[in-house]
């Protein structure tokens, strides 16, 4: 599809929301990785940083799965719930780690999740 078309006609596919979550999670993961290994960084080599490294990695995996994988309706809903818990939990961790960039990307992931859910709603209704 030409780029101009995608702007002119908003794509309501739930995949875009999931992709946005995946991108935010991937960037968040890289941020955490840098924070973890920054010499003398305020959150370098800390358990909390390791925790958000794992949580962003899980978020990346789960969002990729719902974006590109096939799954049943029940599993999809379960993943949607787990992802929002992951986003909120990681955001709370980012707040207490004083990692503002990670917090911003969790906000982006939240937008992606809402987008995903909003796009998915008609399908849920139809089904």
């Amino acid at each position: 599809m030409p780029l101009s078309d995608s702007i002119a006609i908003p794509d309501r596919s739930p995949l875009n929301g999931a992709r946005l979550i995946a991108i935010a999670a991937a960037v968040g993961f890289v941020i955490c990785l840098v924070d973890y290994f920054t010499p003398h960084g305020t959150i370098a080599h800390q358990w909390g940083t390791l925790l958000v490294l794992i949580s962003t990695l899980l978020m990346l995996g789960a969002s990729c799965w719902i974006a590109f994988g096939a799954m049943s309706r029940g599993l999809l809903i379960l993943f949607q719930v787990l992802i929002i818990l992951d986003i909120l939990g990681t955001a709370v961790c980012a707040y207490f780690l004083e990692a503002p960039a990670l917090l911003v990307f969790m906000a982006v992931a939240l937008v992606g999740w809402i987008w995903h859910l909003a796009s998915d709603s008609p399908r849920i209704s139809a089904s």
């Binding site: 010499p39 909390g48 961790c93 207490f96």
Partner: protein
């Protein structure tokens, strides 16, 4: 007559100018001899401090976490000093670095190749260097300006401030071994970790030991006055009476001292006698132990002395230089000093006489139930200024208690706790504040213009448990040094002691926050102006609520523009704070906790604020060798 008056006026003007120029320097551990930690520099203000940026930083290379073949950890507690248009810093490996003040570029280094061993302390530590310059320098002669650094092996090194070469005319080829005056040779070396106090041509030298280790025949805590150029002994101040030396020892001066330049009186913060936690073998009167003692700096003769803890069995060393400031009260200007303490009291005394300016009351205290102990029935209390640590502890920390399945409450129920001055016991006594303070060795700072005193403190709880000799030996048998680090033998006495933080099995503090605060007092009234939780605590990297504050080591400094600069907290951050309100106006991340006194100086028209960010392994494993300067952008 007229000529004499003119000369007098000229001399006064010269002195004033000298004092003004001096205040742009930072040429002693505490900024100046009066330990005010005050600078008249005016470039950085509450309005522009938010623009402060990194000016330069260096890594000295001298730090250790026991890796890389160095068997001891390091404590970088040095105040960077600025004198002779140079920044001098001492390292925990007892090296001296001379730095260019505007770039941090190294001019020279001096390395005495000292042993990298923790002989008297938990790790290698240095609080830096001292500086002296001749009042009448001889052209072309070396060592007219000298930098001194002490070592754990009791050696004091004198180094030419311009070249970094040893001053061979000082003592034995530039090295003074003060262990020659050790009254208990073979016990431990009298470690010079605190740089000497320099007044005119005299170095006043105290030292540190390990008074928790030996109960009897420990070195007596004598203080020495030494010629600054030759290292010759001028006088010795015997802290303990001769009859007490065979059963006790120490009552040494391990912290910095202050001097009144008008009178030449030096003020000694004298520590507790050995052993620290049991005093049954030292029943003699030890009036100078745990005291402030004022001496004539040129003769070592006592001017006055005031004991702050009687028969100290809490290790409540007087642990910082008293801050000398004049207080305007009832229409009079009183030459005063403010002594912060581990036990949380602020003693405000007339520095000429030692008389209290705000009342000191002798109050009954809980009594020891240890056989043979000779504890004092009363102790000195101060209610004004308000003590930095309250009389009663903060109670069990609910979060730590829940997380540990009620372990904190169970432990507390087994302890003896009768408030401040609860004596050590066999069951274990809760101490709040314990030996780690209260206020630590940095002490406070003063704004002499407005009569304001600022001090940081910690709220901590420790358990002191005496162990009968047989039980002590059984308990510590086979322990590694790491496992035994909280056990102190007090050898030669019937009791060893186990001193440890009141933590649960998860390593969480069992006492409720806050853990540290910063306070400002109006010394004309003694009233508290403001008191705020200071710093932040990190658990697993997560910053806990700001209201909790942080344990603090180090001290604030104050500038004429109404700014406080301070590291001190465990969160590896340095801050600028508004003197009027206590509000944080600026903060920056550094490599490790800056548990040292910062310095500020003006060089080529630019004001710098320098922090040594070395950390403290007892409080957090994060250590570094960073020295970092901040300034406003050009």
């Amino acid at each position: 007559m007229l000529k004499a008056a003119f000369i007098g006026l000229a001399a006064t003007a010269a002195l004033t100018a000298g004092a003004s120029a001096q205040s742009q320097n930072w040429d002693t551990f505490n900024g100046d001899l009066m330990a005010q930690k005050y600078s008249s520099a005016t470039q950085i203000t509450p309005q522009n401090v938010k623009n402060l940026k990194l000016a330069w930083q260096i890594h000295t290379g001298d730090h250790s976490n026991k890796a890389f073949g160095v068997p001891a950890e390091t404590y970088s507690e040095a105040t960077p000093i600025f004198a002779n248009n140079t920044v001098y810093i001492g390292t925990p490996f007892y090296r001296v670095l001379a730095l260019q003040p505007d770039t941090g570029k190294i001019k020279w280094t001096f390395d005495p190749h000292e042993a990298r061993k923790a002989l008297t302390q938990p790790g290698m530590k240095s609080r830096g260097v001292a500086y002296w310059q001749s009042a009448s320098p001889q052209a072309g002669q070396a060592c007219q300006k000298i930098v001194y650094i002490g070592s754990m092996t009791a050696k004091l090194y004198a180094v030419d401030a311009d070249s970094g070469k040893a001053c061979t005319s000082f003592a034995q080829n530039g090295v003074l071994n003060i262990d020659q005056w050790n009254t208990a040779k073979g016990t431990w070396p009298m470690s010079i970790l605190q740089p000497p106090t320099v007044y005119k041509n005299t170095l006043i030298i105290g030292w540190a030991g390990k008074d928790w280790a030996i109960g009897s025949h420990a070195p007596a805590g004598n203080v020495f006055g030494v010629d600054a150029q030759t290292g010759k002994l001028k006088w010795t101040f015997n802290v303990l009476p001769p009859e007490a030396v065979k059963n006790s020892g120490t009552a040494n001066v391990w912290a910095s001292m202050s001097v009144d330049p008008k009178t030449g009186i030096v003020y000694l913060p004298v520590s507790s006698p050995s052993p620290n936690y049991w005093g049954g073998n030292r029943k003699e009167k030890l009036p100078y132990a745990t005291s402030i003692t004022a001496l004539d700096s040129q003769t070592g003769k006592v001017v006055w002395s005031r004991q702050l803890v009687h028969h100290d069995i809490w290790d409540y060393d007087t642990n910082s230089a008293p801050v000398l400031m004049d207080i305007k009260k009832d229409g009079q200007t009183i030459p005063a000093l403010v002594q912060s303490t581990k036990q949380g009291f602020l003693f405000v005394l007339n520095r000429k006489t030692g008389a209290p300016i705000y009342p000191i009351t002798e109050k009954p205290v809980p009594r020891s139930d240890i056989p043979g102990e000779a504890d004092s029935p009363t102790q000195p209390y101060v209610s004004l200024p308000q003590p930095v640590v309250p009389d009663k502890w903060s109670g069990v920390n609910t979060l730590s208690d829940i997380a540990s399945g009620g372990q904190c409450t169970r432990m507390f129920k087994k302890l003896r706790y009768d408030g401040r001055f609860t004596p050590p016991s066999l069951q274990g006594s809760l101490e709040y504040p314990p030996t780690i303070g209260g206020v630590e060795w940095g002490g406070g700072a003063a704004d002499p213009v407005h009569g304001i005193y600022v001090v940081n403190n910690s709220y901590t709880a420790q358990i002191y448990q005496l162990l009968k000799r047989k039980d002590y030996e059984a308990k510590t048998k086979g322990m590694t040094p790491e496992e035994a680090q909280d056990y102190y033998p007090q050898s030669g006495t019937p009791y060893g002691v186990y001193v440890h933080n009141f933590f649960n099995w998860l390593g969480m503090p069992c006492w409720a926050p806050p853990y540290g605060s910063l306070s400002a007092y109006d010394m004309t009234t003694g009233k508290l102006l403001w008191k705020k939780p200071f710093g932040e605590v990190q658990w697993w990297g997560f910053y806990m609520p700001k209201a909790w504050g942080s344990v603090t080591i180090g001290a604030p400094i104050i500038t004429k523009t109404g700014l406080i600069f301070i590291g001190a907290s465990m969160d590896s951050r340095v801050r600028a704070i508004d003197l009027k309100s206590g509000k944080v106006l600026w903060k920056a991340d550094v490599d490790a906790p800056s548990v040292a006194i910062p310095a500020t100086y003006t060089y080529k028209g630019k004001q710098y604020v320098v922090f040594s960010a070395g950390g403290n392994p007892l409080l957090t494993p994060k250590i570094s060798d960073q020295v970092v300067a901040f300034a406003l952008p050009s």
